[in-house]
């Protein structure tokens, strides 16, 4: 999602940061971690499900996702891998908010 070219990476070996807020953090028992990049956005939920079994139904199905502070649509299974999470990106799982 970054507009600039990766500085040091030529397609492998990078990593992105993923932030787990509220129920996402409770489920993973962590607030932040790094995962390998690049990763197609369409593979994000499957990647998380493989690491945290059941997180899809419990958390992700009700959550939104941001990449670098911008909300993104999660691609369907049959859609292209046009959106790629890049080295250095900041991804966040945003469960339903409850300010006030």
């Amino acid at each position: 999602m970054t507009s600039h070219a990766p500085v040091k990476d030529d397609g492998g070996g990078g990593q992105f940061t993923i932030l787990y807020f509220a129920s996402a953090g409770s489920y993973t028992a962590k607030q932040v971690e790094t995962l390998p990049a690049p990763l197609p956005l369409s593979k994000l939920f499957a990647t998380l499900e493989a690491r945290y079994e059941g997180i899809g139904a419990s958390v992700l199905d009700h959550s939104l996702v941001t990449v670098n502070l911008t909300y993104v649509e999660m691609p369907g299974d049959d859609e292209s891998e046009a959106v790629i999470i890049q080295d250095g990106d900041e991804v966040a799982i945003i469960p339903p908010v409850s300010s006030g």
């Binding site: 908010v97 300010s99 006030g100």
Partner: protein
């Protein structure tokens, strides 16, 4: 007042633009301070909303509440709301601050102050700003119940959130 405020400033994240102020803080909220942010000789009214933490959810006793935020995104969203509400209602100023961390029962968790030449616009703008915040700002509330697990609340449906075992 000078030295305590210096201390508080360090635990506060804020954004400003003309006529708009938004902030997140771990400090106690100060109604006078947030009103002073929107005070203007051109204003005939300041409306202040103070949201306070309730001691129960649907009759179930709440021990305490804890708020967390995606600070960078929450401030950006709060600023978007502030600018939109200010423009729509012709406000002189709008200021919104949300408290984070543990907020004891009956204390303020959010303050919204708006000023306008006439009171009608201020009433409407204050309500709209609050509702937009509750719908959109990336802040989460966890309610800790007496003798039970905590739950993450969701504003959009008002139902019980997900139980958490790490309380």
């Amino acid at each position: 007042m000078a030295s305590p405020q210096d201390g508080l400033r360090q635990e506060t994240d804020e954004l400003t633009s003309p006529g708009c102020y938004v902030a997140l803080t771990h400090a106690h909220l100060d109604a006078q301070a947030i009103m002073d942010r929107v005070r203007s000789p051109a204003a005939g009214a300041i409306v202040l909303f103070a949201g306070t933490t309730r001691d129960n959810f649907a009759g179930k006793a709440v021990k305490e509440l804890q708020y967390t935020a995606y600070n960078k995104l929450a401030l950006r969203t709060m600023m978007e709301i502030a600018q939109a509400v200010r423009a729509k209602h012709g406000l002189e100023g709008i200021a919104m601050i949300h408290r984070l961390g543990v907020v004891p029962i009956a204390e303020e968790s959010i303050l919204i102050a708006v000023s306008s030449p006439h009171r009608q616009a201020a009433w409407r703008a204050g309500e709209e700003a609050l509702e937009d915040c509750k719908a959109r700002v990336e802040v989460w509330k966890r309610e800790e119940f007496e003798g039970d697990h905590g739950v993450w609340r969701a504003n959009r449906d008002g139902i019980m959130g997900q139980k958490v075992d790490d309380a």
